[in-house]
Structures are given as C-alpha cells and as structure tokens.
Symmetry: C2
Subunit: 346 residues, 2 copies
C-alpha cells in the first residue's frame, strides 16, 4: 500500500514507490492518486520538447539547478523532472542513466528526477505521465519539468500536459528545417536554439522565426482553439465555448520569444528562466492558466473514459467471437469496419 | 459518391477522390472501403521510417523508380507511396510538395503518391493510413511504400502497417546515437545508413549494429510476440496463440541486415530492393506473412472498435453532465479517475 500522508509530507521513498504504482496503473496507485488529487493544482508545469541531439537533458539540468539557486526571497522551490521517452522500451532510469548520475552527484534533496518510457501504448504513457505529474504536485514540488525526447506528435501531446511549452532546436541537425515541424512550433510558448556557440546558429534562428510566422500568421487569439481541437476532446461543445472565451479576452496574445542558450556552460539559462516566469505571469493575468488547466484535465478525463470503455467492452464480448471476426477479415468476407459494426452495436 | 468500379479499373482521378473521402472519414469513404476490401491482400507493404534529415524521401523516390524499371519478366509492378507526417498540420501535398513535383516530372502513370498529415488524433491518422493503403491495394498497386517522417513511437506504429519495415539512419545527426531509439530498432526488418558518402558512416554503422544486438539479444523467435504486445491487442488470448505458432516454426529467424545507400545518386538501391525481396520471401516461407497480416488487421479492427465505443458513449451521455464533471475536477472535488468511473458505469 502507498503511504499517502508520507507522500504529502515529502518522503522521497514513499513518492518513488507511488510513482512505480502509477506507472503500473495498479489499484493502489489509482487509489493513492484519488486521495492526492485535492492537493494538486499548485505546481507550474513546464514541458521541454524537441528533436534528438538538441541537448534537452543538459538544458533541463541547468534549469533545475537555476530554479534551486536563483531565488531572492525565502526557500527555493522544489523541482521535479519527468523525463519521458515514448520510443524507448526502458523505464526507471536505464536510458537516461548518465543524466541521472550527473544530477545525483549534486545530491540536492530538493530535486526529484523520474525517467519514464514504454514501448507499449502511447495513451498509457500519457496517462502515467499525468499521474506522475500529479504525484509531484501533491508532494509539494512547485516546479515540474516534463522533458520529452523526440519530435513527433506523440511527444507534443505529452508536452501539452504542461502550462508552458519550450521547444528546443539546435544548429546543424540535418540538411533542412525538417528537424522541427510546423505542428510542433504551434505548440511552442518559448523557442530555444541550444548549442548556440555552433556554426549555423543564425540560419537556424532565421528558419525558426520564418516557420513561427507560418505557424501563427494572424493574431494568436485562436491559438488555443487549435490546441483543443487536436487534444481530441470527447465533447463537441467545448471548442465553441473556448472560442468565445478567447474572443472576449483580446489581451491574451503571447508572441513566443526565440532565445539562444549554450546549456553545457549555462549561457542563456537566466534569460530562459525569466521568459518562463513571464509566460506564467501572462497565463495568470490573461486567464489562460485556468483555460489550460481545464483543457489539460479534460484531456486526462477523456483518456480514462476511453480506457474504461475499452475495458468494459472487453469483459462483455466473448473472445471466440472476436477471434472469429478476425478470421472473417483475413478471408476478406468482412471489412474491419463491418466487423467493428457487428462487435459494437449502436 | 465514389465510383468503385473505376477505382478497381485503375482510374487515377477516382482513386484520388476516394483517398480524400477516406481521409475525411466520410460515409462514402467507409462504404467504398467495404466494397473494395475483398480485393485487397495482394500488395507488399513496405514501411520506411527514421529521424528527420536522413533522406527518407529521396530513398523512397529511388526505390519507386527502381521497382518501375528493374523487372526482368513482364510489366513492372505499379507503385504507390503514402507519405505520412504525423506532426504536420498540412495534408494533400503542401509539405511534401517539392518531392511530389520531382516525381510528377517523371510523369510515370504507374506511380501514385499521396502525402498525408494531421495535427489531430494519431488514431485517426493510423485509421486513414490503413484505409489509403487498402485503396491502393484494391486499385492494383503491387508495391506500397509507407513513408513516415519522424522518429517517435507514433511513426513506428504507422510503419507497423507494413509487411517489411525499413529504418533509415544517417551519419552526423546530433552528438549521440539518440537519433534512433531501441524501440524503433526493434521494429526494423532492414536497417539503412543513408548518406553513406559522409564522414562518420563507420561510426554510425557500428553504433547501429551495437544497438541491434541490444535490441535483439537472443534468437529472434519471440520478436513478433513483442510486436503484438505493443500493438495493444484488445484480445488477451491472441498473444499466447501467436507464441505457440512461433515456437513450432524455428525457421522464422530473420537477422536484420545493415545496408549503406547514397540515395541522391542511387548507390545501394539495387541491394536495398534485393533485401526487401529476400524479406518478402522469408515472410512467405516462414508463414510470418499471414501472422503479420493478422496482427495488422487486428490492429485496424481494434482502432475501429475503439472509435465506435467512444462515439456510442458520446451520444449517450448528456453534454451538461460531462461539463459539470470537468467543473468538479477543476474544483478538485473529484479526481479524473473518479469522474470517469461515474461517467462510465461498469
């Protein structure tokens, strides 16, 4: 069983145990999350995504270090990192071992790092990441960095668990600007050209600014409408509501800044942290924070509804009937669509 | 309406119209696919995936050209290309325009290219790709290349629509071997180091062979068991069946070859096409072709079942009730898990 009061009190061992239960989607993990959920909603969630080879891990390390030091007033916030690799079959630190060792050497009890990976369902990984983030939040980590290794839609979807999304690029990745796609740029609140001491940094920044213009041709008032559409909301009314909200708050315009960093020696980290703080303030003042929070939680609810629907259906249908449908499809007697219609009655 | 006999007769305009209906998931598209499905199952599906900047598009072009020329006996097979970009919001050719113009110049009526993209649901893109591939198959395209731009789990899942999966890498992409992940290597039937005239090609090939060993430590007999697990089958019995099948056919061991190509001038294309043909023969002789076909169609059936379950649920639940659940979650009165349990009764 999970010791929920210990997690709330900041016990690292209890937290680590809880994270494993969440990743395994166990009953104990679900129950603990239900008890912890009322204590969530305080942390600022920062997503860091971008193609491989851009130095995201170094950037995340430097940011974590910065947040732990650079505080004028009182105790620095505790910082948690969820490092998510949707294409890796390893979990718990095997892949990101070097980085974890590096952080462990600093032995800062105010930093907690969890690496997560799966070769299984993406929906499962998104669900697990949402749970891990909630556990961090309830345990009192005021800043949560969600790092996703990769450059595809799946990674962006996971980065969208965040309030502030940072997209990282670097000079000299491949021939073309393909390394970052328009769909990813659209999710970016802040753009970073890391490894900015390398040749080609001007070209990379120019290309990013050009694509940014392409991704946001007009005023950015409808931006969140696009976000919500792609989060596949199970409710059709919500998009329309959201659009109205946005139209009544024209102050909610954020132009994503393009920053340069050299994470290996800490250049530009102070400016990046300042941009993140500015974005947080913008979200609060414009009312967007509540909207993102709602979209985020709606997304999680939809994932869990879908899981439950599939689970319920699976217990209802006889396995032999399902397999005989596959036989019919193999023989081309039924199309997959026709078989699905027979298995799921309207 | 879709002119199904015209599609079957090879009419390109009718096919193009059908593909749009499939992408829109219209009733006309679904009906046409039901009628076309009995005519599918003849094409060889070849997935080409890998990180951005590896020159996949050039490789696909060269392969298409090769298949159209290099045939000793009779007419060359017709070749179709589905170029899928899960992170791009554009569809129908906008993003991959340069490549399409390049192919159009050859004006070969035996080649059909369709670029597909979405910023929406990944499940929707996988469903649309499966439909487009079926349309090509029914229309008599004997070779179908499914190109996915990207390096994440989503792209691999789409590549898994194929019978033969080719994973492409190139020298000098970033600092580390991160550009290709273990989870992607595991899906590879053939590995290609493209841009092999570049410095660092030996290092890249060595790294790939090392990771290949890591991804396939023992004999590859259980490989498909892993594949099926990650395809999230809705049936629990099937994995066990598959495992038994594999154990009774120990001949089914395929060691993924590592090839070098320079797609820009055609180097290594003949060897790559030969490796694809060898893999096809291996699939047929070992009985794996039928197994992959079954896993592929099961996957598609599961996608459609899931869509129907969500659709049916959506028509049953009152929208006000769903929104009031989100309100409760926002107020932290209910966790997403608790709200899902109330919305979907066991």
């Amino acid at each position: 069983m999970i010791d929920v009061p210990a997690v709330l009190a900041g016990d690292r061992l209890a937290l680590a145990r809880l994270l494993s239960e969440i990743e395994n989607d166990s009953v104990a993990g679900r129950q603990a999350l239900n008890l912890l959920f009322p204590h969530t909603g305080r942390a600022h969630l920062i997503g860091i995504t971008g193609p491989p080879g851009t130095g995201k891990s170094s950037l995340v390390n430097q940011l974590a270090r910065h947040f732990r030091q650079d505080q004028g007033n009182g105790l620095p916030p505790r910082v948690a990192v969820a490092a998510v690799d949707p294409s890796s079959p390893f979990t718990g630190g095997a892949v990101l071992g070097d980085r974890i060792r590096m952080m462990d050497r600093s032995a800062d009890p105010g930093v907690f790092i969890r690496s997560m990976a799966t070769r299984g369902s993406l929906g499962g990984l998104a669900r697990a990441t949402a749970g891990v983030v909630q556990a961090f939040d309830a345990a009192g980590y005021a800043i949560i960095l969600i790092e996703t290794v990769g450059a595809g839609q799946a990674e962006v979807d996971i980065a969208r668990l965040a309030h502030t999304t940072v997209v990282v690029e670097a000079p000299g990745l491949g021939d073309d600007i393909q390394a970052i796609k328009a769909g990813i740029l659209e999710a970016a609140d802040i753009l970073v050209v890391n490894k900015a001491d390398r040749p080609g940094v001007d070209n990379t920044e120019r290309a990013l600014r050009g694509m940014l213009k392409l991704a946001h041709p007009g005023p950015r008032v409808f931006r969140h409408h696009g976000r919500l559409e792609s989060s596949k909301s199970l409710s059709s009314e919500s998009d329309a509501n959201m659009r109205t909200d946005k139209q009544t708050s024209p102050a909610a315009v954020w132009i994503p800044p393009v920053l340069r960093t050299v994470a290996t020696d800490g250049q530009g980290i102070v400016e990046l942290a300042a941009a993140i703080a500015r974005h947080r303030a913008h979200l609060q003042q414009s009312g967007e924070l509540a909207q993102r929070e709602r979209a985020r939680l709606r997304n999680e609810l939809d994932l869990r509804i879908q899981e439950r629907l599939v689970h319920r259906w699976r217990t209802e249908v006889a396995n032999g009937r399902y397999e005989s449908m596959i036989d019919s499809i193999m023989k081309r007697e039924l199309s997959p669509e026709q078989a699905a219609a027979r298995l799921v009655k309207d």
